[in-house]
């Protein structure tokens, strides 16, 4: 079934036991009765789109929702049907991780688990509506280690309403004490329209300024602890970068299946619509699910390459993005010590990385009008 050139596959499992207030992903709470039908549909979509994949898929990423909340039997069935890959990542929430689940993942060929720890502070976990407490996070981590996982990532969120710098330091220390191979650290984004923003928006606006210091603290602490700051929000040791995500940042093509999943192949990007019933019924009929299509002109892909590539600590080959770069801005930014050119590559300096958004916006050449959509 695999004749195409796409080497990266994303699989979306939307189910969660409850919805966290800050979350704006495509998620569905409960609905255990749907898990089986959903996995059927996923497999059908995979069957349909499979020809786009190469025979040697490099990475598979199972994200959610809470993939590990999926009925174990269905999860097992799905994992068994996924193409083998060098890296198979699964997102997990601490409260779902039992020794049995860890063993199931292991047996299903999963090589890497990304554990949504978020914080080790009981009160802040409460603010985030997280179900697991700090001990639950630690327990889940050890279950995974015990099952033999040697590539575990922890997700941390900072800037939680009420979080003091000392609290952030404690969280980082707790996380480091577990010795994860990889850490993703995100500033809490209060997305408009979420319940969370409604409840905490004012507090977040108040602490916006101190958030600058939080980001610096995260980066400094993790680098001190021997981690590589290889992407704006991601840190690893022993070369354990998240290979699937790296594919996004390097502008590679990827296929995504499941509701809300996005694929980018050649000059086209499409996104499955998030409604579950229509997804299920279309695939039950053997048809592609309803989608939004977005053509990607060559220049747009180059701009994305620039936007994503500058998030990494590896130089971005200048020749690949030159067309999208405003040379005058480049000169200015070099002068300000925010951008560096090294061996034919473009690289943000340490300070430049903290300002990556503004730097990239300035670096981008004027976007031709016909390129807006």
């Amino acid at each position: 079934m695999s004749t195409g050139g796409v080497r990266h596959l994303y699989v979306h499992l939307p189910f969660c036991s409850s919805r966290c207030g800050y979350c704006d992903f495509v998620t569905l709470v409960g609905r255990r009765e749907d898990h089986g039908r959903y996995v059927d549909a996923l497999l059908a979509e995979l069957e349909l789109e499979g020809p786009r994949l190469t025979s040697e898929v490099e990475t598979v990423f199972v994200g959610g929702g809470t993939p590990t909340f999926t009925e174990p039997g269905e999860l097992r069935r799905l994992l068994a049907a996924l193409p083998a890959a060098e890296e198979v990542s699964v997102e997990a929430n601490p409260e779902t991780v039992t020794p049995e689940l860890a063993a199931l993942l292991r047996a299903g060929g999963v090589t890497r688990v990304s554990l949504g720890a978020q914080s080790f502070d009981e009160r802040l976990l409460g603010v985030l509506d997280r179900r697991a407490g700090p001990d639950g996070v630690r327990r889940a981590f050890y279950h995974l280690r015990d099952a033999g996982f040697d590539n575990i990532s922890l997700d941390l969120i900072y800037g939680i309403p009420g979080q003091e710098p000392s609290g952030l330091r404690r969280d980082l220390d707790e996380a480091l004490a577990l010795g994860p191979e990889h850490l993703s650290c995100y500033e809490l984004e209060a997305k408009p329209g979420t319940r969370f923003t409604h409840a905490h928006g004012e507090e977040l606006a108040r602490q916006a300024e101190s958030m600058e210091g939080y980001f610096e603290l995260v980066v400094a602490t993790l680098i001190d602890a021997g981690y590589r700051w290889y992407e704006t929000a991601n840190f690893c040791r022993d070369g354990r970068r998240a290979r699937h995500n790296l594919a996004y940042w390097l502008g590679r093509d990827y296929l995504g299946v499941g509701i809300g999943a996005v694929s980018t192949v050649g000059g086209l990007r499409w996104r499955n619509l998030p409604a579950l019933p229509r997804y299920l019924s279309a695939l039950a009929r053997g048809e592609a699910p309803p989608r939004e299509l977005e053509p990607l002109p060559a220049l747009t892909r180059i701009q994305e390459r620039l936007m994503l590539g500058l998030r990494l600590d590896d130089p971005l080959p200048f020749a690949e993005v030159e067309e999208a770069v405003d040379p005058a801005a480049l000169g200015r930014l070099e002068g300000l010590g925010l951008v560096e050119r090294r061996a034919g590559g473009l690289l943000l300096t340490r300070r430049g990385r903290f300002l990556g958004g503004g730097v990239t916006a300035e670096l981008l050449a004027e976007i031709p009008a016909n390129n807006y959509n």
Binding site: Q303, M307, F354, G356, G357, G358, T360
Partner: protein
């Protein structure tokens, strides 16, 4: 029409005292216009005029009353248009001085009354709005009678709104105002007291014929400008344009000139026959000079050609508008414009924005300075950016300011005028309650936030008027604002040495608040020459990056970035600093008048 059957008159009044309403009622009472045709405030034709309740362009309407031809010459009601008012008054033999029965005499009542007296007009005092519950016709009539030296019994008491006693006003015009004098047999002479521009027919001059007779197709000459043209059409307003074959001594009407440029026929000029013309022009012509200047810039620099075209068109209608191209590092391409005063500036700005749909940035207004360089040369400076940093001395324009306030606010006005470098001239009780204060003030002090201050310190009870009286030496300095070491030309000021620190400090603080943090520290400084008098720092941003970005949201993140990019494009680049339009607006507003 025989001279003794003609009466030419104006209505002069303070703003909102009911001049336009009375004009409307006169058209109605004389059946010049049926009620059906009656629009409210017919004479104020421009939308803006109606909305602001002021008349900008004078017009003349001919009405018939009991066998007489009455010409009502409408005048602008504001100080900025004093010259136009005085030309309009020169075309009349009398004026109705209209005063609100509730408010009494106000500053412009005085200014206009004096103007009318200077022009030797017969003044017919009229107290209007006697129907208002708070009207006090008796007291106000006494005030007005005192002002013009008339018997209080002879002060008419009317309501233009209800029409009460409006007919008596017309009778008084016939009885009290003298018929025009002039020689119907002499070579023709007519005073141009206003003009307008018709896009099809060119300049239309409003004239008062003094001597002789003008006929359609006559070749005419404007004596001051030397311009020659053919009278394509003669006529009068009734109130619509009504062509006629001749305009004779004493009559008021219009001349269609076909000229394509208002500056070739200025208000105050004298028209005569091109062939057997008069040898002496009518007295009183002068070239009006702008007193207030400001830079006008399009908010979107792409709109520069539109702004240029719009100014050209406005200029066709408004000979007193002055403009020349100006380039600002900070604001790009724009124009330095000269105005007769602050109201004139506001009107031009509003017309540009409203009639031409332009988004404008207007720099802080300043006055014209006379700078004497060390070489002894005299330069007139219209923009702070053109002010030499070294000079021998500077002169600035002074005004004679008249303020009328209830007596309890006299102290507040004096205090304000003292803060603004005012010199007390004299003070007069108009009545037991109301006082007139006369001060000499630098015009520059009025241009900056004066009206707001006056209004708030007198709870809105003050009325104010001024006249430019001359130039005087002042202890003035140029203050520059620097962003990251680069001067922002649009924000330079010329201020009195004593006020330099406070103004510089206020600007610098405001800029620190308004300019978003950049990717580097930005010092904001105010300096006189190389001496920094105030400094603030906009601290560099330490973080500007999207927290996360994965395969599912590349499009959204790209669009965020595009938006950020577009936001940058809207900013003005000053040296290395990006300054949003809003920051300039905020700062210029702080500096400008906020009426």
């Amino acid at each position: 029409m025989k001279l003794d059957r003609i009466r030419n008159f104006s209505i002069v009044a303070h703003i909102d005292h009911g001049k336009s309403t009375l004009a409307d009622r006169i058209l109605e009472v004389t059946e010049t216009l049926s009620e059906r045709e009656m629009r409210e405030q017919v004479l104020d034709s421009m939308e803006l005029e109606r909305e602001r309740g002021i008349t900008i362009k004078a017009q003349a309407v001919r009405v018939a009353w009991k066998g007489h031809q009455l010409n009502l010459i409408d005048t602008p009601g504001h100080v900025d248009f004093t010259y136009e008012v005085s030309r309009a008054l020169q075309a009349c033999e009398g004026a109705l001085l209209l005063v609100d029965a509730a408010q009494g005499i106000q500053a412009q009542t005085l200014a206009n009354a004096y103007l009318a007296l200077e022009n030797n007009l017969e003044i017919v005092p009229v107290v209007n709005k006697i129907d208002l519950p708070q009207a006090n016709p008796g007291a106000v009539a006494a005030e007005v009678a005192e002002l013009v030296g008339e018997d209080p019994e002879r002060v008419l008491r009317i309501s233009a709104k209800t029409g009460e006693s409006v007919a008596e006003v017309l009778d008084a015009v016939v009885e009290r105002i003298a018929p025009p004098e002039g020689d119907p047999e002499a070579p023709p002479r007519a005073l141009v007291f206003d003009s307008s521009y018709d896009q099809y027919r060119g300049v239309v001059a409003f004239v008062r014929v003094v001597d002789g007779r003008f006929g359609t197709r006559d070749d005419l000459r404007a004596m001051a400008a030397g311009t020659r043209f053919e009278a394509e059409e003669l006529g009068f307003f009734s109130p619509v344009r009504t062509p006629t074959d001749t305009l004779e001594a004493g009559e008021v009407g219009y001349v269609v000139t076909g000229l394509k440029d208002v500056s070739r026929l200025r208000v105050g000029d004298t028209l005569t026959s091109a062939r057997q013309g008069a040898s002496q022009p009518l007295p009183g012509y002068k070239d009006v000079k702008p007193t207030v200047f400001a830079g006008l810039y399009p908010t979107d620099s792409d709109d520069y050609p539109e702004l240029r075209d719009a100014l050209e068109k406005l200029k066709l209608n408004d000979a007193s508008l002055f403009y020349e191209p100006e380039t600002s590092q900070a604001l790009g391409f724009g124009f330095r414009c000269g105005f007769l005063g602050l109201l004139h500036m506001e009107i031009v700005r509003e017309r540009l924005e409203r009639e031409f749909d332009l988004d404008l940035l207007v720099t802080a207004p300043n006055v014209a300075y006379r700078v004497y360089t060390q070489g002894g040369e005299k330069v007139e400076v219209h923009s702070p950016a053109d002010m030499p940093r070294e000079f021998e001395r500077v002169e600035e324009p002074y005004i004679r300011a008249t303020t009328i306030v209830p007596k309890e606010y006299v102290g507040s006005v004096m205090e304000l005028n003292n803060e603004r470098r005012g010199r007390f001239d004299h003070m007069e009780y108009l009545s037991e309650e109301r006082v007139m204060l006369s001060y000499d003030l630098p015009l520059a002090e009025i241009v900056y936030d004066y009206y707001d201050q006056l209004k708030s310190r007198t709870k809105g009870y003050a009325s104010f008027d001024y006249d430019v009286v001359g130039f005087e030496e002042g202890s003035l300095v140029r203050v520059d604002i620097l962003l990251a070491g680069d001067p922002v030309d649009a924000l330079s000021l010329i201020v009195h040495r004593d006020g330099a620190y406070a103004r510089g400090r206020a600007l610098v603080e405001r800029l620190r608040e308004e300019i978003p943090r950049q990717m580097f520290d930005v010092p904001v400084q105010a300096a006189i020459g190389s001496r920094v008098i105030a400094r603030e720092t906009i601290k560099a941003r330490r973080k500007d990056v999207l927290a996360k970005c994965y395969g599912g949201d590349v499009t959204r993140k790209r669009k965020l970035l595009e938006r950020q990019k577009k936001g940058k494009k809207r900013m003005k680049q000053v040296g290395s600093v990006e300054v949003p339009q809003e920051a300039f607006l905020a700062v210029l507003n702080l500096d400008g008048d906020k009426r």
